[in-house]
Amino acid sequence: MKLNLYEDKKNINEHVDVYYANMRPVIRQIIDSVNKDRPVLQGRPADEDLDDGEELILDPSEIYYLDHIERKLFAYTKDGVFRVMNTLASCEEMLWTYGFVRVSKSNLINIYKIRQLKPDLNMKVYASFDNGERICVNRSYKKSFNDYLQKMRGIM
């Protein structure tokens, strides 16, 4: 994508024009950034108390998956596990353009971080990530997972 930047110190009406062929996730992300709607996930290291831990801004592209355990949501990244204060449903809605898809009642995975999708001998299908962890793709979500992949391929 071609990027033109024009610096004008006297400009009092800063604006961004986006010329696009179709509304791909990357275009949606640019719009979100301009509108300040870019999803921001704030998390605290999971091993610290909520009040003591330093709050960090999590980049969605760095998250492997989100796991909902005992009414708490955790984000798994290369740098560790972070407690996120959003709900799983809101994250699903907010992050679908960033490659996040629901694969079970309690898991949202980032397809850009999947190393391999592999069934076990017991026929359970697991998504393996770069950090060596695996998340099971539940049978009930198989169709929606497949539809999501087709949709993402279509709009890429």
């Binding site: 994508m1 990027l3 990357v26 490659g99 397809i111 850009y112 999947i114 391999q116 999708l117 592999k118 069934p119 076990d120 001998l121 017991n122 026929m123 359970k124 299908v125 539940n138 049978r139 009930s140 198989k142 997972f145 497949n146 992949l149 087709q150 993402m152 391929r153 890429m156």
Partner: protein, 145 residues
Amino acid sequence: MQRVKQFIIELCCVYTLISVVGAFVNIITGTETNNANVITMFLSCAIATFVLYMHRLFDNVSPLVMIIVQYLAACFLCALMILGLSYFYGPVTPWGWFEYFRSFTIPYIILAALYYYRVFSEAKKQNALIQEIQQKSREKNSGEV
């Protein structure tokens, strides 16, 4: 109500398929069926479809466990059904039991094997799709920098 409708539709499909295959087998082997067999076949289809329809209860266990448990449940219920029918049509011989379980088990194993193959082939396709999406994303990101 929706589930009952779906169950009835599935039962109709299964029974039709089994009847047609049964008719072909009869033509090839030169055998004939009778009313008792037709009723037994329909009740077996209804039990097997009902048991397989319960697959949602097994979402949290592996498909292999689900297949085995459903097979055992269907076998048990069908055996009860045959015992019930034997009061009307006379006792079932040991060979009759063997024939029944053989004709029940063979299609079940074939269908389970097909399901097993489908799980692996679908995962392979989805894997290829994920690699393609990741590749496209990498190309786009490198082109944008």
